[in-house]
Subunit: 191 residues, 2 copies
């Protein structure tokens, strides 16, 4: 592996930055940057407060999943519970809040599994992934206008669904690997 | 698993749609939609032509990776080769093109590994993931203004880097699981 100090010849630096779209959900900036060879280029990207995803393990070892209609894709997606952080909100607080609001569960034990970046080319979004264990069902409190179904699947069922192409949400696929690395949930992840 | 026909009560339908930002890279639409309960809501999302990612396996079984500065995150990321499809371009053609342009490799054998959706809440982007084998090095042809480093890592080195938090690019994490499921690249993915 190359160390960070060896990578300075790849770095782009900001010259100018402006907000070009300030919507209800999306906030887009356009920056002019200096490239490593001294020329300039334009970068457009979403400014995002970050999100959380929860791998919530029930007493029977099944994982809590949601089915939710995703308008940009015009289809119902199978996903781990996840949600956007409120501005400045601590990631663990967001995770506790989202697991109750969306899935209706509280958890006694929370373990960070890592962080992923969802769209490295056009968003600042990072997702903090948590393992939640010791679940108790307290009932969901969905936001107004939020509609979803809660279910639970074993790790092997989720891997089989991935193989069939029935799980395509990338954060859910990544979290499934990170969970299995940590917990050894399957004797072998090879199909 | 619930069948698709059972999920109609989750569906949102388009009422109006307008382009609200038409940039060089990003194209943002804002739609008004009817929710399952008959009320209306706003959806803002990026319209994206789709992308491809290539898991390129060398004769020594090491996987081709790139280090590239990602401006929205202000850091160098470790990723599998990937790139945006040209509008209307067949995904396999895009994958062949990107593997040559970015990494400098041609491949004799191409196998689809599946598809992921990167940001289900605010982009139409799908990434088609390919396995490329039978590599021959022909030299990279980077786009103007594109700067990156090519390296190669074993599956186990990539999994260890994931455990350390050194791989956070979500498409790369997901593709690593999909590759390992297909190829049985590691006797056990559990750490």
């Amino acid at each position: 592996m190359t160390t960070d100090t060896d990578l300075r010849h790849l770095v782009e630096t900001k010259i100018e930055s402006e907000c070009v779209f300030d919507g209800k959900l999306l906030h887009v900036r356009r920056d002019v940057v200096r490239l490593p060879d001294g020329t300039t280029a334009t970068r457009e990207y979403i400014v995002h407060p970050g999100a959380v995803l929860i791998v919530a393990v029930r007493a029977d070892r099944r994982l809590v999943v949601e089915r939710q209609f995703r308008y940009p894709l015009d289809r119902v997606m199978l996903e781990f519970p996840a949600g956007k952080r409120d501005p400045g909100e601590n990631a663990l607080i967001s995770a506790r809040r989202e697991l109750i609001e969306e899935a209706g569960y509280e958890a006694t034990t929370w373990t960070p599994l890592g962080r992923v970046h969802t769209v490295v080319s056009y968003s600042t979004e990072a997702i903090d992934i948590f393992l939640a264990e010791g679940l108790s069902h307290v009932g969901a409190k969905l936001d107004e206008g939020e509609f979803l179904e809660i279910d639970a699947m074993s790790t092997d069922e989720m891997l089989a669904a991935l193989d069939r192409g029935d799980i395509t949400d990338v954060k859910t696929v990544a979290a499934l690997l990170m969970y299995t690395r940590r917990r050894g949930g399957s004797s072998s992840l090879a199909a």
